[in-house]
Structures are given as structure tokens and as C-alpha cells.
């Protein structure tokens, strides 16, 4: 290991803090397990009860991590001083100086909504421009889009943006024809081509946005701390209108800071990398963070899906630090607009995180990163454990009712053994679980109201308090639904099922009833059967489980209603789930809102929607020329390919664009000669029906 990395002060402190955290978690878990075994009818002596106590222990340990971490964060933020906050290393005097290294801002996209991506890019660019340090940054849109229409749309948007901002040679666009290794492959491709030109790269997601000041600050922190390999910010959720996303972004704003501070308290330089809104030192990243392909087939083999965790672990393995700048403002992202979108995203993350288990014992990784792998997997496996716990406890409840009690389990005993149940113990355990789960929320509330005095930014003390209460109800209602889906995801992954890599739908849209029935129907049926069985066999146990059974039965309406933007707006109107960015939006977010509202959907004078990229590439002379130019030099093709393309051209000319499949469109788009011929022939066509199919206005008979 390089001398640069030896004896970092934080390493010793982090060891002590981690041992302390593990001790606290163990103590609380052991106590809770003892309580649990005492509550059970046979005091944890049967096989079923042992299994229940073990699963309960794993779950309790899992929730205790969050509790203790939040408590650590609360204490840190109450003190208002954190000697290990990475941002505090960047002194005021250093902030005024010039930046010595060049930075690339990477925006990897794959079939995203083009106008949203480019609007964010435009705002980030303009924000950076106002800082006067734009010359130190370049922007790269790295597209993996497979949809031919989106591909052309991106090119057109790029050209338009470059022209309007005067950003030619500042904003670059690259489209990969083969999206090898998905996002991580896309970034690696950038590194191989142009990485040597830059000291740092800041990775964005399609829904990321950062202010110019925060970008500059990140670079300054990296320049100040030469041992930092990755600096992750804690992005805040903004800009959402649907009910569930507003709840999520509110929770992110209120509880996020103490969890962020807590994470930093424990992890220090062994922190997370979440794959976006982070700055990376390019040279060590290129040297150490290339990802191998895991042996075997997906889901547990093949390409590493959740690459960010592994990249952080590899960076750390090479000695570079990974920090979380939890207090750096101006970093934003957007929450999934609906529950179903959130679950689709979780499906991918689940597979990726479980895949990390294969790397758990890789040589050279730091224990903290092994723990992060485990933590990532537990985020989903815990759902399956919860499901298992519920199944076991249901089995126990049913068995207890059906089995004839044995009052004399020991032969020749004088007195009977009465089955005794202590409801007060069960209530105590329930209350302590509640405290572990909900205390962080109240700590956050206390922090905002009494220490930071920021309640006005959330609409005032009363509205903030009511919003937290409503958020607790929301999380109560959605937890069983998420649990069921996550259990399913884990199960499918473990039995060898895998997910595709489709893009998220990030814009506001509501879940239809049909879609909700399709997704939540089985869960609702399960809830109904479970509830009915318990109701008739063990009524008291049924009442204990209603907080889980009822949301499962109501999952369909809950999913539909929570995706409603009108409900979200109604919440906003009455002052619930308000966030500081809504009450006093920063300039960048204000601009984003204005620009999103004023977007054009088609281009004059031919009424082709901007989304019909392929048609535009054929009809619009500018887009046609642009696309052909970006394709580069014409390649020599095999006669069979040329023949096939000529046939496609003929088909396009005689039947119109709608008859072409995405694959056929893509093939034509890949051939500049074909595309030019198509453009020429179309503009020369005498067949008005065909012309209209391509978006030409109807024939005008009079002049």
C-alpha cells in the first residue's frame, strides 16, 4: 500500500465505533430474543419456536442497526460539530482558488425520457456557468439506448442544446451500439476512451441534478484530500407530485440527515458509493475498479449488476478512501413516481445485492465493505425473513389451537403444567420493537424543531408533526406490501430467475386499476386466505396480525391511490409532506419546473412528434444529416446485409414507418447510405398516401 494511505486518523476511531455499534446491536438483540422466547407457549423449547426465535433475532438485529445508526447521527447533528465530516476539510481559503484538475460530468442513460434528461443537463450546465468555473468541466451523455426513436431524439436534443448554449466541445454525446455490462460498462467505456483527459468524474443518474456550487465543492474536497477515491453525496428527493413519491421525498428530507450522519459516524472512509451524484478520482478508478464477469450464469453469475458497491469495495481495497459528504447541499434526485415503479427498481437492486454474496469472502476486501455487501443483501433478505417469521408464527398459532394441551408432560408429577401466556410481555416486546423502528423518526423531528429550528421550511411545527404521523401510517400500510414483493424477488433470485435491464419510467404517471390487479392480485388473495384462516382458527392471533393482513388485502386500492398526483397535490395544498425545496425552491429547481412545463412535443412545420425519432431522422433534413454525420465513416458491408437493408428501405418507402419493427428501424439508422436514400426518395415521392404516413401534411390542391 502506498505511503499516502498509511495511518489515517479516522481508521482507529472507526474501529472503536464499529465495535461499539456491534456490541449495542448484540445486546439489544439478545435481550429481545430472550423476551421473545419467554412469550412463546413453550418458552422456545420446540423446534418451531427455536426457528422463530432465530429468525426474530436476525430481524431484530437488522432493525437495531438502523436505530443505533440514527441515534449516532442524531448525537452528531445535535453537537453541530463533526470532526470527521469530509466537507469540513475544505477550508474557506481553499474554496476561492482555481481548480487544478479537469472534471467530466457523466450522464449514463438508457432509453430514458430525453427531454427530462436534457433539461436537467441544461440547468446543471447553466448553474455551473454562473460559478465562473465552467471551463474546468466537460459533460458527457453516454447513451446505451436501444430504442431507435430515443437514440435519434437524444442526438437531436444534444445538437439543439449545444447550439443554444454555445456548448460545442463542452457537451459531448456518445451512443454505444452494444451495451456491454450496462451502466458500469458504459462508464468503463468512457474511461478507456477519454478517462486520461480528466482528474475526476462526477456520475449522474438520468434523474440527477446538482447545483454548480455543489459540483465545485466536490472537486475542492477531492483536491484537498488526495487520498479520497470516491466522494458520495446524499441526494435529496425532489420534484414529485404523486402521493407515494411525495411521502418518500418528505421522509428523505426529514430522516435522511440523521441516517446520513449516522452512516458517516460508523463508516467514515469506508463508505458507500450509490452509483450517482458522486465524484470519482479517475486514475485509481481505471486502475482498480474494472469489474470482472462472475463465473456461472445469472442471476448469481455473469455481469455484476449493482456495480457501485463493488467499485467502492475495490477502490477501498486499493487503499483509496470512500467518503459520504452527508452535509453537502445541492444534490438532488427523483423518487419513483409509483409503488410499482419502486418495486421494479427494487427487483433489479435485489438481484444485484444478492449477487454480492458471492464476493463476500473475496481476498483483500475491507471488513467494512464485506459488511456493506451483507447489509445490501439484508435489505431484501430481511423481507423474506419477515415472511418466514410470519409463516412460522402462524403455524405455531394453528398448532397450538389444534393440539390437545398436555397438562402432565412429566410423568408422575403432582401438579399440572398450565399453558400460560403473558400478554404484557408481548406488549412490552411490541413496544420496544416500535421504539426501535420509530424512534429515529421522532429524533429527526426533535432535531429539526429544537436544534436546527427549520420547522418553517417544512410548513411549520404542526404541519411537520402531522406529516411525520401521516408518514408513519403510510409506512405501516406499505411495509407488508413491500415485504411480500421483496420476499418474492429474493426467492426468484435464489431459484435462478433473473431480471432484464429495462429503463425506469421516471415521469409522473398513475397506476391503472388493471395494472394494480395484475401485480397485487396474488398478494391480496394471500392476505384474504391468511386472514380468513386465522380469523376462524385463532381469533386473538388474527387481531395481532391485522396491521399486516389489512394492508395486504387493500394493496390494490393502496397502490392505485398512492400513485395519484391529485392526491399528492391535495396533500401539498393542505400542507402535508412539504419539503424546503417546495417552500423556497432553489434557482435550479425553479428553472426545472418552468422548463418542464414549457416543453414542445412536435416540431414545425411537419407534425412529427419529437418521440418519433426514426421518422424525424428520415424526414427532417437536419436530423437526417446530423444522424448520418454522427454515425461516422461508412463501413464496408457484406452483400447479404446490403441486400437486406435495401429490402428494408423498400419496405419503409412503400409501407411507411409504422410497419417497421424497432430492430428494422435500428438497422436502417445504422446505415448512413440507406438513410440518405430513404430521405431523398421520400421527399421525391409522388405517392401522397405514403408521404402522409411519414408525417407530411395532406396534399394542398389550391395554392
Amino acid at each position: 500500500m502506498n505511503q499516502l494511505f498509511v495511518n489515517a486518523a479516522w481508521e482507529k476511531v472507526s474501529r472503536i465505533r464499529r465495535i461499539f455499534l456491534i456490541t449495542l446491536i448484540l445486546i439489544t438483540t439478545v435481550v429481545a430474543c430472550l423476551f421473545m422466547s419467554n412469550i412463546l407457549p413453550h418458552k422456545g423449547s420446540t423446534g418451531l419456536e427455536v426457528a422463530m426465535v432465530l429468525v426474530f433475532g436476525a430481524l431484530f438485529a437488522w432493525i437495531s442497526i438502523g436505530f443505533w445508526m440514527a441515534t449516532a447521527g442524531f448525537v452528531t447533528l445535535m453537537r453541530k460539530y463533526d470532526r470527521f465530516a469530509i466537507t469540513s476539510t475544505c477550508l474557506e481559503s481553499n474554496r476561492r482558488g482555481e481548480l487544478s484538475g479537469r472534471t467530466a460530468i457523466l450522464i449514463p442513460i438508457c432509453n430514458e425520457e430525453v427531454e427530462r434528461v436534457f433539461t436537467r443537463l441544461r440547468i446543471t450546465y447553466q448553474s455551473l456557468e454562473t460559478t465562473g468555473k465552467l471551463q474546468d468541466f466537460d459533460f458527457f451523455i453516454l447513451s446505451d439506448s436501444t430504442n431507435p426513436d430515443t437514440w435519434v431524439e437524444e442526438e437531436a436534443a444534444w445538437a439543439e442544446l449545444c447550439q443554444t448554449l454555445g456548448a460545442v466541445n463542452r457537451i459531448f454525446y456518445r451512443h454505444r451500439r452494444v451495451n456491454l455490462k450496462y451502466k458500469s460498462g458504459n462508464i468503463a467505456d468512457f474511461c478507456r476512451r477519454w478517462g486520461k483527459n480528466y482528474h475526476y468524474m462526477i456520475v449522474f443518474d438520468a434523474d440527477s441534478m446538482m447545483t454548480g456550487h455543489s459540483l465545485i465543492r466536490m472537486v475542492q474536497v477531492m483536491e484537498q484530500n488526495q487520498t479520497v477515491g470516491i466522494l458520495q453525496t446524499a441526494p435529496l428527493g425532489v420534484n414529485r407530485e404523486s402521493a407515494i413519491a411525495r411521502v418518500q421525498q418528505f421522509a428523505n428530507h426529514v430522516y435522511g440527515p440523521i441516517f446520513g450522519a449516522g452512516l458517516n459516524f460508523i463508516q467514515l472512509g469506508d463508505s458507500f458509493f450509490w452509483g450517482h451524484n458522486a465524484i470519482i478520482r479517475v486514475a485509481p478508478f481505471m486502475k482498480h475498479c474494472s469489474l470482472p464477469r462472475l463465473s456461472g450464469k445469472p442471476p448469481l453469475g455473469g455481469n455484476i449488476l449493482s456495480h457501485d458497491f463493488v467499485e467502492a469495495a475495490l477502490m477501498r481495497r486499493a487503499g483509496w478512501e470512500v467518503w459520504l459528504a452527508y452535509d453537502l447541499e445541492g444534490s438532488y434526485e427523483e423518487m419513483p413516481p409509483t409503488l410499482l415503479e419502486e418495486l421494479k427498481r427494487d427487483r433489479r437492486w435485489c438481484q444485484g445485492n444478492i449477487q454480492h454474496m458471492r464476493l463476500l469472502f473475496s481476498k483483500g476486501l475491507f471488513p467494512a465493505h464485506r459488511a456493506l455487501f451483507l447489509h445490501g443483501a439484508m435489505a431484501y433478505v430481511s423481507a423474506l425473513l419477515w415472511f418466514l417469521f410470519l409463516s412460522l408464527s402462524t403455524a405455531e398459532a394453528i398448532v397450538e389451537v389444534l393440539r390437545v394441551p398436555d397438562y402432565f408432560p412429566v410423568m408422575r408429577s403432582l401438579f399440572p403444567t398450565w399453558p400460560v401466556w403473558h400478554p404484557q410481555w408481548a406488549l412490552t416486546l411490541l413496544a420496544s420493537t416500535g421504539i426501535i423502528l420509530f424512534m429515529p423518526k421522532f429524533l429527526s423531528l426533535l432535531l429539526i424543531i429544537f436544534r436546527q429550528r427549520r420547522s418553517r421550511e417544512f410548513g411549520g411545527i404542526v404541519k411537520l408533526f402531522l406529516s411525520v404521523m401521516a408518514e408513519i401510517i403510510f409506512s405501516f400500510l406499505f411495509a407488508p406490501i413491500r415485504m411480500l414483493f421483496h420476499s418474492k424477488f429474493v426467492f426468484i433470485t435464489l431459484v435462478g430467475g433473473q431480471v432484464g435491464w429495462t429503463s425506469q419510467q421516471r415521469s409522473e404517471h398513475e397506476t391503472s386499476w388493471l395494472e394494480a390487479i395484475r401485480f397485487h392480485g396474488p398478494g391480496m388473495v394471500l392476505g384474504l386466505i391468511w386472514g380468513t384462516v386465522l380469523f376462524f382458527i385463532n381469533r386473538s392471533f388474527f387481531w395481532w396480525n391485522t396491521p399486516i393482513i389489512v394492508p395486504l388485502i387493500l394493496s390494490i386500492p393502496l397502490s392505485v391511490l398512492s400513485s395519484s398526483t391529485s392526491l399528492g397535490k391535495a396533500f401539498q395544498k393542505i400542507g402535508l409532506f412539504l419539503i424546503p425545496e417546495e417552500i423556497n425552491p432553489p434557482r435550479e429547481l425553479h428553472l426545472l419546473q418552468t422548463m418542464t412545463q414549457n416543453q414542445e412535443t412536435s416540431f414545425a412545420p411537419i407534425s412529427i412528434s419529437a418521440k418519433e425519432g426514426f421518422t424525424r431522422a428520415v424526414v427532417d433534413p437536419n436530423i437526417n444529416a446530423l444522424h448520418r454525420s454522427l454515425l461516422g465513416k461508412k463501413q464496408k458491408l457484406m452483400p447479404s446485409i446490403m441486400k437486406r437493408r435495401q429490402e428494408l428501405l423498400e419496405k419503409a418507402l412503400t409501407q411507411g414507418p409504422k410497419t417497421l419493427s424497432p430492430k428494422e428501424k435500428k438497422e436502417l439508422l445504422l446505415d448512413p447510405q440507406c438513410l440518405f436514400q430513404l430521405h431523398e426518395h421520400l421527399w421525391e415521392t409522388l405517392d401522397h398516401t405514403i408521404a402522409q404516413k411519414w408525417g407530411f401534411p395532406p396534399e394542398r390542391n389550391s395554392l
Binding site: R193, M286, P605, V619, N701
Partner: protein
């Protein structure tokens, strides 16, 4: 776009050159097609009209040479020919040059900076770490147990354990 009847109205030379077949439905369509093309290039209306006139004139003379090919393809070919010649002039006009300049200067336009190739090779990483871990642990255990003193302690411990288990009721 003004009607074709006004075509060349402000230009006596053009008006005198206008042929009767130029306002036939065939040429009307050609006129619209050319106008549309220029509109998509964002050429301002006045300039586009001037251009269209020129294109149609060129096309009609070409049509005579090619013994009567349809007017739309002829007009479009003439337009392309003329665009090639005159786009540089158009660009110097005061209107927004965005589209036309884009159309003209695309040869050599690149959306990417010049390549500066680097390497990114995966560091050695154990792809079957579970097995390696087990093997490593076993090897370590064997190494430890093979030390005489540790072997003796373990042996005594095992005997004690055996005795305890035997006596256990």
C-alpha cells in the same frame, strides 16, 4: 407562405419567364414540397420564396432536358443542387443559422472529443471466494493443529469432552 400566384410578382424578369405549365397541379405540388423542405431548414419565409422560385426555374429547365420526368423529383433534385451551392450564402444572412448551418457543416461534425485511449483491466479478484475461503480456513486450521502444543491441548480437550458426554445423563 404566399400563394404561387404572387410568384415572381415583384420580379418582372421572372414574371416574363413564367411558363403556363409552371402552375399546373404537378408544379403546384412541387412548389409545396420545396417550400416545406425549406421550412424544415428554418429558412425565413421571404428567403424561402426566392429560393423556391429559383428551384422551380431550374427544375423546369432540367425537365425539358430529361424529357418530362415528374416535377416533384425534379424540383427536389434541383433544390439539393442549389442548396449545395448556396447554403454558405444563406448562412451569412441574419436569420437563426442553427438548422441550415447544421445541415451544411455536418461533414466532420463529431459529438465526441478525440480519443485518448487508456486501459481498464479488472484487478485480480477471486471469483469463487466461498470455496477459497473454506480451503484457506481448512489450511489454517491444519497448520494450527499440526503444532505439537496445540495438538496436545486439543487432544486433552477432546478427551474431556468425551468423558463429559459419556457421563451425561
Amino acid at each position: 407562405m404566399p400563394p404561387l400566384d404572387s410568384f415572381g410578382a415583384d420580379n418582372p424578369t421572372v414574371q416574363s419567364e413564367r411558363k403556363p405549365d409552371l402552375i399546373s397541379p404537378d408544379w403546384q405540388e412541387a412548389f409545396h414540397r420545396v417550400s416545406l423542405y425549406l421550412q424544415t431548414l428554418n429558412v425565413p419565409e421571404g428567403k424561402a420564396l426566392e429560393f423556391t422560385r429559383e428551384v422551380l426555374r431550374l427544375a423546369s429547365s432540367n425537365q425539358r432536358d430529361t424529357a418530362g420526368s415528374p416535377s416533384i423529383p425534379e424540383a427536389m433534385r434541383a433544390l439539393r443542387e442549389l442548396l449545395r451551392k448556396q447554403l454558405s450564402l444563406l448562412r451569412k444572412e441574419s436569420f437563426n443559422p442553427q438548422d441550415v448551418s447544421l445541415h451544411e457543416n455536418l461533414n466532420g461534425l463529431s459529438s465526441m472529443p478525440p480519443l485518448n485511449r487508456g486501459f481498464m483491466v479488472p484487478d485480480a479478484i477471486d471469483l469463487i471466494p466461498w470455496r477459497t475461503f473454506l480451503v484457506r480456513s481448512l489450511q489454517r486450521a491444519v497448520t494450527i493443529v499440526s503444532r505439537p502444543l496445540i495438538f496436545l491441548i486439543l487432544f486433552i480437550f477432546l478427551i474431556l469432552l468425551f468423558v463429559l458426554l459419556t457421563l451425561w445423563k
